[in-house]
Amino acid sequence: MSALILKSARVIDPTHRRNAIGDLYFEKGVVSATAPSGAEILDVAGHCVVPGFVDLRCTIRSREDLELALQQGYTTLLCPHKPPDEVLFPRAPKCFPLAPLTQGGEGKEMAGIEAGAHILFDSQAVGNAGLMRRAMQYAAELGAVIMVHAEDKSLSGKGALGEGKVALAWGIPSIPVSAEAAAVARDLLLLEEAGGHLHFAHIACKRSLQLIEEAKRRGLSVTADTTPMHLNYWDTNIEPYSPLARIWPPLRGEEDSLALREGVKSGAIDAVVSDHYRRTKDEMEEPFELCVPGGETLNAVWPTLWKMEMPLEEKIARLTSGPARALRLGCGHLGEGAVADAVVLDAETGEVLKTIISGHVCFSRGATL
């Protein structure tokens, strides 16, 4: 395997609190402490080199999706649905499937935990608290991590928008905050008893975030993420009935969105995740409630973080060390021996200039894929 030297970069590696100008060495697909001989040298003076971006949930339905991920600096993607084989291409970001927590994701019986599958996720709510508790106990013993979609379906019903004045005026069935927050509270109580680690997916409500912050203060092993849609949009800054507003969990109010932004800044929210799901025309042509929830968001996460008022190291952490630690992934840092996944960023504009996967430059801005 070839070797690569990134010369004179500003290396920002949140895990190791590194933010300094220097060289970075890649050899045999990992980060090396010493300069390899015969290496290709890339002079990246004036640019930043950061760990490859990690997305905890995205749906890859087409090659276009995967190319977009690569152009956006992603090197690791966790996929609730296995990408079709025909969309994969050499040097694409690494896609890892997520294992179901319950059989068929139906929330009825525990799924067998296959060897190596250490992240368990049901995209639907697990309504049965007893089952959830046993799954947590089982996962804790195996060292597996449960990623939770927090929703109480008896409260969310057929809702499609967060409860409030806007849902009332649009005439859209709405979902109270308690549909998310009660599920978060339940699982935090179960976590106290069962042990292990819990990661909350796409937190959308201020109230849930408060519960998670409080649990963190008490020392529970819990992490959380949110999405760029929930950070950028709320029910009053979006066109009524626009399919853009049809997301899951549902769009909420401005106060929730502002609280989420504060959570991202403080680190109470560990990761910003795309939840990318590119919809077909058919899936978006129905009336609002009937539209399939989703959005083209792989290209929204880093631009959203870049524009936020917070230290650059922290912005990078929410896309690298944050998600990697939350789900116990080995990647997301540039320490010696780490996998050689990195992104070269324009220090002025934040633009992704190069995506490096396992030591190979897989994307360069301006070059065709």
Partner: protein, 297 residues
């Protein structure tokens, strides 16, 4: 003139007064039977409807339009065609206006955004039913000498799921009246105060100082959804009967957008009483809908 009639909420007071003024003229002078001659009006109804559907049909025919009826029961939407594809296909035949009834809020707005012809919302989910609100306002204005300012209208029942209540709230407010909602907390939540309504759960309290009472139909499935304990309890607490009628000030009108559950939200004796405007509402519906079609650009 307006491009579409999707909701009352996005109309100005001038728009509403213009439509009501036209309706007044149409009622006085009769409809010019050539106003829409040679034009095609398509009724796109994804939900059963008798009153509204017939009313629009009579209205459009009276203006000389050719009316096409597209019903969910015998159409290609059962074969999986989307609302927008159906509308695109029909529009290609040369359509002046769509009149759309749909179970989902925002459906007419989607058609209006994507298809290049006028759209009239004939009721979409729990969002709005603007032609109903306009005909209700027209009926009350006739009774009150053309002026709604200073009046208070009480709307009773399942406000949460009601497009009629929302459209009436906006329309009556635009014309200077006050609107009070009354019903069980699960069906008339306090949250409506954010839209400018007064909300009161006790019907006997709510009936004080009102000039008109509009009763809404209670859908039977609300009981299964555990939004009310029982129809009997609903009837006892939120039904309009003669005892409650006797507490109203003289001349208070009773309205209902139909269809009525006699003996549930409204007692038979009240239905047949002297101050009920229900049939006048239906009659005025035709001229108001003619005024709407006429005011489309």
């Amino acid at each position: 003139m307006i491009p579409h009639l999707l909701s009352i909420r996005e109309l100005s007071q001038g728009d509403v007064l213009d439509i009501l003024g036209r309706a007044c003229r149409l009622k006085r002078e009769g409809a010019p039977c050539t106003a829409l001659a040679g034009k095609v009006v398509v009724k796109l109804f994804y939900e059963p409807s008798t009153r509204t559907s017939c009313s629009f049909e009579v209205a459009a025919a009276g203006l000389g339009a050719h009316v096409l009826n597209w019903n969910i029961a015998n159409s290609s939407s059962i074969k999986g065609e989307s609302l927008l594809d159906t509308a695109r296909n029909l529009a290609a035949m040369g359509v002046f206006a769509f009149v759309i009834r749909h179970p989902n809020a925002g459906a007419p707005a989607r058609v209006a955004k994507h298809i290049g012809c006028a759209v009239v919302n004939a009721g979409d989910g729990r969002h709005e039913h603007p032609s109903q609100a306009l005909l209700d306002a027209f009926t009350l204005m006739e009774k009150w000498g053309g002026e709604l300012r200073g009046r208070r209208v009480l709307i009773v029942g399942d406000i949460l799921h009601s497009r009629v209540a929302r459209s009436n709230l906006y329309c009556l407010q635009l014309l200077g009246a006050k609107v009070r909602f009354c019903g069980p907390p699960t069906l008339a939540p306090k949250a409506f105060e954010a839209l400018g309504a007064e909300v009161c759960f006790d019907l006997d309290e709510a009936l004080k100082d009102v000039d008109a009472v509009m009763m809404l139909r209670l859908q039977k499935e609300r009981q299964q959804e555990a939004l009310i304990p029982s129809a009997q309890e609903y009837q006892r607490r939120w039904g309009l009967d003669l005892r409650r009628m006797s507490k109203l000030k003289e001349g208070t009108f009773v309205m209902h957008p139909g269809p009525v559950n006699r003996g549930l939200e409204i007692a038979s004796e009240v239905m047949d009483g002297p101050y009920n405007l229900i049939l006048e509402q239906v009659a005025n519906g035709v001229v108001v809908r003619q005024a709407i079609l006429e005011s489309l650009q």
